[in-house]
């Protein structure tokens, strides 16, 4: 069965269309701030604690806060059981999410402190790191951490030679290229760009612009969620 037919994808979306988005603010009462972000079948829950004291003390920076990110996929999030705990992939994604938020949060405002971000993936259906970044930026805003702007993130890919936005399911496993981007609309900065596969220069620029358009849509959605929260 082909993945793209008559300009429609296997799940009925257009090439440049995002999956349905859903978000809840503060589902976890114990945390300083938390958020659930859902892109299609991918669900991420982020909890933010702090700013708090740095342990061990030698990690503390006298001029800025450090951000500690723990990203993990829960055992039941994938089709096969995913072994919980330390893995190369978790460490890598934690590190890159940390770097994204170091440039979005005003770390200089909170010297000698730590901000802890825990991200669990409840259900994985491609672009988990994008959902994780979206959830974490909502959770940071809910926790009252000073930041420049919400960071929005989404992925583009190449499936059967065509550029598509927000790859999902089969497109991720059978597609050729996957490129997640994290983008901050206010400063017009790209905070994360990863890519695997071989593409041409034209395809790259096309994918980047498509991703940024998608990120702007996600950013509008995040803003709406934050502003609607207290209205009730």
């Amino acid at each position: 069965m082909p993945l793209i037919e008559n300009g429609k994808r296997f799940d009925g979306r257009d090439l440049g269309e995002l999956r349905p988005l859903n978000a809840t603010l503060n589902p976890v009462k114990n945390a300083g701030g938390s958020a659930m972000f859902q892109m299609g079948d991918t669900i991420a829950v982020a909890t933010v604690y702090g700013p708090m004291e740095v342990i061990p003390a030698f990690m503390e920076k006298s001029d800025r806060a450090i951000i500690d990110v723990n990203y993990q996929m829960l055992p039941f999030s994938t089709d096969d059981r995913n072994r919980p705990g330390f893995s190369r992939r978790n460490v890598e994604i934690s590190l890159l999410i940390q770097r994204v938020f170091e440039s979005a949060v005003f770390v200089e405002d909170m010297p000698r402190s730590k901000i802890l971000i825990n991200i669990e993936i409840l259900c994985a259906d491609a672009s988990t790191r994008c959902a994780a970044i979206n959830a974490a930026s909502l959770a940071l805003a809910a926790a009252g951490i000073p930041m420049k702007d919400c960071v929005a993130s989404c992925a583009a890919g190449i499936v059967e030679g065509q550029v598509v936005l927000d790859v999902a399911g089969k497109e991720d496993t059978e597609g050729d290229v996957d490129m997640p981007i994290a983008y901050m609309p206010l400063t017009d900065e790209v905070l994360l760009l990863q890519m695997d596969g071989i593409i041409t220069k034209e395809q790259f620029s096309q994918m980047t612009s498509m991703c940024i358009e998608g990120c702007k849509k996600i950013h509008d959605f995040q803003k709406k969620v934050l502003l609607d929260y207290k209205k009730e």
């Binding site: 708090m52 809910a142 009252g144 420049k148 803003k223 207290k230």
Partner: protein, 241 residues
């Protein structure tokens, strides 16, 4: 600090309808403005927090909805002694940094270290003032109401709701203490110490305040709730007699 909070409280009630909610990165002004919780970029002013805008003629500020406690000078806080490292005790004040209580800031009858160590054991709770903030938060026990908290129980609420528990000029506090007969001390860091016979009722009332702080007519509802609880308790006691 308390008086300032009370002023803020009255302002909040007056301007209830005209609140503007902003998210991080929301545009506040197209010129560079002074204020707290805002930042400027390319000559424009944006919000840093998810919160409420407060505008005056010369200032634009954003007050965040929810934030971890940050110590301010002259705040009264409740903390737990963690450790002694000469010349100070390290106190956990449930904030982004520890509090430090120096030996010379302790107002005790004795200056002998073994006796002081016995009074300020690790794990004991104290009610202290924040006297100075340098690179670390310094606490003082020289104030009039500072004391070591013995007995009673401690509950935690959101630090932003503490002004509501105190009320205008301490009115809510007075109601709580009179009706329940408990002795209550509130720390600005969101910890509340309650001592007395009817602590359950006081805890219930404080949790109700935290839940319903944003709805108008709070004081009346709390009085009503306390009265009905006290009456029902008396009825129960009479029935058992």
């Amino acid at each position: 600090m308390e008086s300032e909070d009370k002023e803020n409280d009255t302002n909040e009630e007056k301007e209830d309808e005209r609140y503007i909610i902003v998210a991080p990165g929301s545009l506040l002004a197209t010129s560079e403005k002074m204020g707290e919780g805002v930042f400027t970029l390319n000559g424009k002013t944006y919000s840093k927090y998810l919160g409420i805008v407060k505008k005056t003629d010369y200032k634009t500020s954003v007050v965040p909805f929810n934030q971890n406690y940050r110590a301010k000078r002259e705040d009264k806080v409740i903390g737990q002694i963690k450790d002694f490292k000469h010349p100070f005790w390290i106190v956990d004040i449930f904030a982004s940094s520890n509090g430090y209580l120096f030996v010379k800031e302790v107002n005790a009858r004795t200056t002998r270290q073994d006796q002081l160590m016995n009074m300020f054991k690790p794990g004991s709770w104290i009610f202290a003032d924040v006297c100075e903030i340098t690179d670390r938060v310094k606490l003082s026990m020289r104030g009039r109401d500072s004391k070591i908290l013995k007995g009673g129980r401690i509950i935690t609420i959101s630090p932003s709701k503490i002004p509501r528990v105190i009320g205008k000029k301490g009115s809510m506090m007075k109601i709580l203490q009179d009706k329940t007969g408990c002795h209550i001390k509130t720390g600005q860091n969101g910890l509340i110490w309650i001592e007395g016979e009817n602590t359950d009722l006081a805890v219930k009332a404080i949790q109700k305040i935290e839940r319903e702080a944003h709805i108008k007519g709070l004081t009346d509802r709390i009085v009503e709730m306390l009265d009905s609880e006290i009456i029902s308790k008396e009825v129960k006691e009479n029935a058992t007699d």
